[in-house]
């Protein structure tokens, strides 16, 4: 059973499973490095998935759907930025409210736009219909079909991981974002606005989270279903933590979860053990808990992550 095709298929499935989690995780990394705890990725993904399906369905163009998902994901995340940075609300409370809000808004708009709750109509063309095999690279054994014969958002996630790694470690703006999460007072002292950096961090997580949602609704599938995010936003938090608040670490952690999920499905196909299916289904989650519990001790959050920052201004 375990032959070349099996390995290639397994690893391709790993990448597909990992993509929405990796995107949400790297978005959350930038957000938390700026000092804002973001547990709202699940909600942001829900909004992104919904908007993508509606806009792609209405325009017939999945690319416009993707852009709209990114835009509205960002817009939705700004509520979190406003609540935590400007109103100094507790980050976890605001994030939790946003997750509930996302469910409410989408099922409300669903009735307004689609006419019924539940599932939208299928989009005429999905991003899954664009499978790009990169010339030359896609013919490398194993790695070729795994990394270089995928659909658009999968490639975008690879690119974004590189971009954000470079951005956080090599650019001045990235340094400011990190400073805002480590020592905001020092950053403010040199004349850079901590508020702006944190707004920026949250916005990035919203834009990328919207893209992660679009992956679920219009690339991996062709319609939006309420509840389709299936807890991936929270798995992304686990990936971010066990990945040490670093884009590459988060990506590897997401791959790990994707691999566990791809494996459990194949365990069921091959009936490797006569046990209730639920044992297989929980496998990825159990492994995630173990990974987080095992790695989290060595993983250090940004020092001022979740710590409110308030500037006292004298009235004049």
């Amino acid at each position: 059973m375990v032959d070349y095709d099996f390995i290639v298929n397994l690893l391709s499935a790993m990448i597909r499973n990992a993509t929405p989690i990796a995107l949400a995780a790297i978005g959350a990394v930038v957000c938390e490095r700026s000092g804002v705890v973001n547990i709202a990725m699940e909600g942001i993904m829900t909004v992104g998935a919904f908007v993508a399906a509606i806009v792609a369905g209405a325009t017939g163009n999945p690319w416009i759907g993707l852009l709209a998902a990114i835009f509205f994901g960002g817009l939705f995340s700004l509520i979190h930025a406003f609540a935590t940075v400007s109103l100094h609300l507790d980050h976890v409370v605001s994030g939790a409210v946003l997750n509930v809000l996302a469910l409410g808004i989408t099922s409300y708009l669903m009735i307004m736009i689609v006419g019924h709750p539940g599932t939208t109509n299928p989009v005429p063309v999905g991003l899954g219909d664009y499978r790009w095999a990169i010339p030359v690279l896609s013919s490398i054994p194993v790695l070729g079909p795994m990394f270089f014969n995928q659909t658009p958002i999968v490639y975008f996630s690879f690119i974004l991981i590189g971009v954000f790694t470079w951005f956080l470690s090599k650019t001045k703006l990235g340094l400011h974002v990190r400073a805002s999460g480590e020592h905001p007072l020092a950053l403010e002292t040199i004349g850079v606005s901590v508020y702006k950096m944190r707004y920026f961090g949250v916005l990035v997580s919203g834009l990328v989270g919207g893209m992660a949602g679009a992956y679920l609704s219009i690339e991996s599938n062709v319609s939006f279903t309420e509840g389709m995010t299936g807890g991936r936003g929270f798995i992304a938090m686990a990936a971010m933590i066990s990945g040490g608040w670093h884009p590459i670490g988060a990506f590897i952690a997401a791959l790990f979860f994707g691999l566990a999920d791809a494996l459990q499905v194949r365990f069921q196909v091959f009936e490797i053990a006569r046990v209730p299916e639920e044992f297989f289904i929980i496998l990825p989650y159990v492994l995630t808990v173990v990974a987080v519990a095992g790695l989290v001790r060595r993983s250090r959050p940004p020092k001022a992550d979740g710590v409110d920052f308030m500037i006292e201004r004298s009235e004049d």
Partner: protein
């Protein structure tokens, strides 16, 4: 102070939207009093638009309009919504309230006991002699699964030349949502049907563990297609839409569930294992209108024309006449009692090994 206020404000806005989402379809129905009878339903978490049993039940309610019923729907966003939704509908004056889906069993029985003056119906839920105002409606899903299995068993093996979407491997796959009795009956019936048609065909099976996560259904189907499965049957609600999508993208065939799902992917869905929920909901509405409503369990099957498989649509020209005849013969044999179909995996252990 400012913080507390903003927390409160956000919570109020959020909950307002959640409730608006849950009960949006009710508006406008409240003023009409008098003799207008109201038939209501609370959906399972899948909600309307599942192209499956929630839509089926709603269709039944709409058919009831010519009996003088007005249809009302409340959607359940999560399992904790079940009881408030069901009792809420009863308190708003509905004459009969349907709970749709096996997962609502406890909730609907509790609601029926709390509201003894309202009739309740439960799709995929067994009745209870101690609750006379509740009628449980069950289907013989194994019969629908069996006929779909006979079709799949023939098509994947001897008749695999009939469509370019079929390969030489005698392998078919099943995607299940959660492993609950109606889903199990579909699967068990399907396996028996496949083996009845051709004992050499292998049936792969994956349980996704979810009824709303399309991506999981897709991955489950892909994993079986990789192993050579060329017909994917799903009993997985919305999760199954992902399985059909995977079949479409990989150029193999799919079999839909509950209602005729050919419209989901006309070039992929060869047939659907159906249970005629709208018709049985209508029967219940008739009994309410005539005052002949009874509690207990009502089971619908082939004999009532409530189970079976959907038309072949564009595959009518693809499926060889021999296969159609075999399916029809199997239907007759089930009806006459010549073929007994088991309902649980434990009963078909010999076929699973």
């Amino acid at each position: 102070m400012k913080q507390t206020l903003s927390i409160l404000l956000l919570l109020v806005v959020a909950s307002a939207l959640v409730f608006a989402g849950g009960q949006g379809e009710e508006s406008g129905a409240m003023e009409q009093g008098g003799d207008q009878m109201v038939a209501a339903m609370a959906t399972d978490v899948g909600g309307l638009g599942d192209k499956s049993f929630n839509d089926g039940a709603y269709q039944g309610l709409q058919m009831g309009e010519d009996l003088g019923f007005e249809a009302r729907v409340v959607e359940s966003n999560q399992q904790t919504d079940y009881i408030p939704n069901l009792t809420g509908l009863a308190e708003d004056g509905a004459d009969i309230v349907f709970a749709v889906g096996f997962l609502m069993e406890q909730a609907v029985k509790e609601a029926a006991q709390m509201n003894p003056d309202t009739f309740f119906g439960g799709i995929d839920i067994g009745g209870d002699p101690e609750i006379p105002n509740f009628q449980g409606i069950l289907y013989r899903e194994e019969q629908s699964g069996f006929l779909a299995g006979v079709l799949a068993g023939h098509m994947t093996a001897q008749y695999s030349d009939a469509s370019p979407k079929l390969n030489a491997d005698p392998i078919v796959g099943v995607v299940l949502g959660m492993f609950i009795p109606p889903v199990e009956r579909y699967e068990v019936g399907f396996i028996q049907g496949v083996k009845y048609a051709n004992p050499d065909v292998q049936v792969l099976s994956v349980t996704a563990g979810d009824f709303t996560d399309q991506a999981r259904g897709r991955e489950a189907a892909v994993a079986m297609i990789e192993q050579g499965a060329d017909i994917i049957f799903h009993a997985a609600g919305l999760t199954g839409l992902g399985a059909i999508q995977a079949a479409r993208e990989n150029g193999v065939l799919a079999i839909g569930v509950d209602v005729d799902q050919n419209n989901v992917a006309p070039d992929t869905v060869i047939t659907s294992a159906v249970k005629k929920i709208p018709e049985s909901v209508y029967v219940v509405l008739e009994s309410v209108a005539n005052g002949t409503f009874e509690g207990g369990t009502h089971t619908y099957g082939l004999a009532e024309d409530a189970t079976g498989i959907a038309p072949y649509h564009s595959f009518d020209d693809v499926i060889p006449q021999e296969v159609k005849d075999a399916v029809d013969a199997a239907r007759e044999a089930v009806l006459s009692g010549e073929i007994q179909i088991a309902q649980t995996r434990a009963d078909i252990q010999d076929l699973l090994d």
